[in-house]
Symmetry: D2
Subunit: 379 residues, 4 copies
């Protein structure tokens, strides 16, 4: 096994659900270790988080700037950083990291605005360093299988896609109760102009393009703020046209009462369709007009090569969200390792990166524009 890469984190301090998940996912396959962090803008809280993560107290910093500077001077300084902060800081943190020669794994969406991501794209290109984006769901074994099935032509030409990401947790004005997770997500100054469309709509959008291998070329979006007084959208429906002429519909909502984390995709081709749901991630169904449905199970040898490449357990042993997340980290580790080895390195084809970041931000921007004009817009 290769040496463990040294990882830092920005964000993920007390109260953040996603920080510990990043750590668990990054370390699951033994390829990385969290050794430093700027977990909070409060020095004290950053120390507190550092202790909970079990890292050297000296490496729990009060700001990312401080961390990058200090770590770059250490022989055992961090080689990559995870950005787990609200959207508005993604760009400056990524820029600072890359400028210091540290690879970046960023939470999505890539930035808060489309302009920012165009800037980031240039920075990444110039730096020539690994940049990954945590579209976690792309790490599920059966999402990999669905992608391979689409690519194989088994469905025939793709004609229709339905993707949805439905949650219910923002059905009430949770932000007015001081709930931290809700608070920043519905504050345009922090999250950017998109609310639900950026927070989860981008996941659905990415999954759609990732699984089908097709680019969206036009869309017509309807974005609403259902909860009175909310400053960003919380319910979105987007009609889509794809590069090959297929059409689709994307629903994203955070006011869909009773839904947990309902990310689902269905792809209809000329001959068959493929169906997958995130809450039961270990099965995938292919349906055909002329034969029985086929349900494929994670962990089985009959799956596609891409699915088998990310299996950890035999069939019948469920893998979950952390494992999917860890697949992205494993692929990112491969990339960082190749980069550190000094040779030519390039992004693994299956790992979401800067292109996914740009497209996701474009999606937000186009959906908002479409909603503004009340009609179709080119992508």
């Amino acid at each position: 096994m290769a040496r463990k890469l040294r990882m830092g984190m920005v964000g993920g301090g007390p109260g953040a659900f996603i920080g510990p998940v990043h750590k668990m996912a990054a370390e699951l396959d033994g390829r990385m270790q969290l050794v430093a962090g700027a977990f909070s803008q409060s020095a004290e809280r950053s120390k507190e988080a550092g202790a909970s993560y079990g890292i050297d107290p000296a490496r729990a910093y009060a700001s990312y700037g401080e961390m990058f500077e200090a770590e770059s001077k250490r022989a055992d300084g961090i080689e990559l950083v995870v950005i787990a902060t609200p959207n508005s800081t993604h760009l400056p943190v990524a820029e600072a990291a890359l400028a210091t020669g540290i690879a970046v794994m960023s939470d999505k969406p890539a930035t808060a605005t489309y302009d920012q991501v165009l800037e980031l794209e240039k920075v990444v290109a110039k730096a020539g360093l690994p940049y990954g984006l945590t579209h976690t769901y792309a790490g599920y074994q059966l999402v990999r299988d669905a992608r391979a099935i689409c690519a194989s032509g088994e469905l025939g030409e793709i004609r229709k896609v339905a993707v949805e990401y439905l949650q219910g947790w923002l059905s009430q004005p949770l932000e007015s109760t001081g709930q931290k997770q809700a608070g920043w997500r519905v504050d345009p100054a922090v999250s950017g102009p998109g609310g639900c469309i950026g927070d989860i709509g981008t996941h659905a959008f990415h999954l759609l393009e990732y699984v089908t291998g097709l680019d969206v070329t036009a869309l017509h979006g309807t974005l609403r703020s259902v909860v009175v007084g909310r400053k960003v959208d919380d319910d979105c429906t987007v009609l889509l046209k794809m590069a090959n002429g297929a059409q689709g519909v994307l629903m994203a909502s955070q006011i869909a009462a009773g839904e947990g984390n309902g990310l689902r995709i269905r792809v209809y081709g000329e001959k068959a369709s493929v169906h997958w749901e995130q809450e039961t991630p270990n099965t995938l169904t292919i349906r055909r007009n002329s034969g029985p449905d086929e349900t494929r199970h994670a962990g089985m040898q009959y799956l596609s090569n891409d699915a088998r490449a990310v299996m950890r357990l035999p069939g019948g042993h469920p893998e979950g969200y952390i494992e999917a997340f860890a697949v992205l980290y494993r692929e990112f580790a491969d990339w960082v390792t190749a980069w550190k080895a000094g040779g030519v390195h390039k992004a693994p084809a299956t790992l979401p990166g800067i292109r996914a970041g740009v497209r996701g931000m474009r999606f937000i921007e186009r959906a908002i524009e479409s909603n503004r004009v009340g009609g179709w817009v080119e992508f």
Copy 2:
């Protein structure tokens, strides 16, 4: 038990799947009996069908005109007629029946065009006779329960609706093989200007308004003909606005490979949502943000009054499509019986009738218009 009503049928001749289903459904509860029919435009084939239905050969007619005339002269003539022909004949047959004093149960959509249904509306109003429309799915016990749940306020104000009706059987150009069912459905001269939007989109639209009790007030539809050479739409996605400000999306497709008869509805309110699927019609799920999901089973005493009113079997004994259909016939029989009794009679609140017919045709017309202009239209 009341005397059995005497029923005639127009259409339903050899090769039609729906004719025998009408008979089974109409007769299931012992309230009606098929005694006459103009099953085909060919006298010979009409006789053949009559024999297969076990009716008096003298009452298997070569045309509906002949049937209405002959039956109106009999003391035991038909009291109601089922119209089971392609769309373009619905209006003339219904007009002729009503003019002869025969009640009408018509297949949906009510007519082939919106102008026709406006005419039919006047004819029905003037005749003052029972007129029912076979939106079969409205007869399912748990659709009745979903409707009662929405009306009860248990979900809170309705905010979002997702309804879909997905089939795969027209994925290929089946009409070019001489398949009869496919043939007329994709011929605008027979089906009217709507293809999929009329054939199944209207079912989804009806279910939406029926369950929520809300009218659609505006829509934006995208209608496509995916199969090359097809003259009508075969894949539709329609964004919807409802009278209370709720929004929704309706998908209807006949090129969704692998789908059978996938009619599904989800209604999201402020507090909870309700979920139902036609292919597993004997359960319904309520989901809440703050508590477990609740799955309700057909045949159980805890269901709403409206659901219990249409139960035939105890819990755990599945009812199906024919039983749902028979519920509509039973309600229609009540109405016809009241009418024949000579008193004031009116349509049962739960039975789709001419209003549903007008709205359904309006839906087709508006969806096509919206698709033409590429934007939202008022309903």
Copy 3:
């Protein structure tokens, strides 16, 4: 279509759930018509029931003896009779009917005791008349498919079977509340020595032998009366050995709180297994060690010949309990028609008859004996 056969009913009076179901099922395919009945031991209640069924008041009799005598004198007398009474009367009614030259469709179990069924077997053989047994579940399309799959060898040699029939409705001493359905079922004088084992255990047993085509050769049963004071068993677990060396387990319970009508079967062969559940009867799953699961849907052309022979509706249109029941009636009608036509007639291979009746009663007797001795007994 053949002439409708004339049917009588014994039992099925006010309060009986199964009477109207018999009528609906028998008449669904237009092959029979209920024209007479001895619906209750009370003349008045029998008239009342007759009226509710819409039959000629003169043909609602106060006893089955009266009915058989009167009907046998009519030119249009009944040709077959349905026995829908509690178990203890099955034998005398069947004997009387057969002696009068009337074919018999009997509720299960065939009789109240094993001795009785041996007598019935002789009577049926001597009479040479059609005798059917309403193991309703054998009429489901996908039970037919499961049976064909087992027979085809697709599973390889059958090794293991798990069948269960779980209900919860007798979790409490319902019989002490005067509930009629519960009352007779737990009264050994009426139901026979078996309670749950006879009422639903026989259904599970029949399904097992019907689907696998294998006879049970030995069993070890544990029968309990869980509800205090109950005079018959209400919870049973039976280990089974089959003719080919396969083994199985059968669970039947009426105190399985929360279960509705949970009849389920799984058959494991050398290569694959087949899974079916009555509450979702329109799908069946085949599972294999080396490939994806296969889910088959009712109404599809890829099903076995035996399944396709009993389809009424295209795929995606659910059939239910009444339709399954009607399949048995349709097959019985074929048989009665052949018999009335005067030629050689024999039981359709797919219709449960006297052999199933004898084996079912033997099953009850053996299970009770095994429970008594506390060990394995030969079948």
Copy 4:
């Protein structure tokens, strides 16, 4: 966060699926770190495994004896050891570890024979050191919830239990192909006298007692070797009596073709029942006679305290097998930490330990004895 405990492993060398799973599970919550191992009886292969696990080459030993000796001399020596070897070595390894003052986390079953476990029980008691047993499934959040539901009395008195563990992977004589996992499991010299009954039957048995809180008091088992030539059982059905008078059935099979890792439990009380399946571990259903089914989801605040205690992710984010495993490791870490702290320490109530080990081995012994005598035996 507490200091990471230092962990060693015995077994888990090249080709063993379970070794890396132990490491991932043990390290997931940051409470332990694998630092040494005797991964194989071949020194070379142990080194190879050590490298793949990323440990110091000097701490990859050729035997457990060597490891315990060397590590006990280090200031940073291992504090606990995971035993991931075939059954026959569990006892000697555990004895050696405990004798050296190293806590033990052992794969199940605890030993190869019942006599051995009685010896182990004494050794554990005498040593006074933490001893845990990897009944992994006890770590699932919703198994904890099911256990709490049973304990709460919500189901009423428990009456009936059905537990099953069905796999298909030994449907063919895989052992004759040289497959390592199959090989030792069907070799009585290594696995002990029980095959399937020990390998997975003990998991089902443990889950039954763990969830219900009831001890088995008698059983009647049927054990078969279905695959010709196999020396141990591969298909088992066991009738059970519980301490409160409830009865149950346990099925365990490794020749159930098409099954993956089908561990399922259903517990029926007077008022309601609870249902859980390992392959979809993130939901649990409660069914009642008088109300709708209730489906509970992992990650939700309405779950029992015991379930909430082991949540890592919010609702809708699936946890899987590794996370369940990690729950046991986390609880074991708490125990070991308390022990190392020098105070009184005792096993967490929710962590399977030596008592579970003894009962599991007793279960194997009793099932085999029951099968031998062909009847019921006391437990």
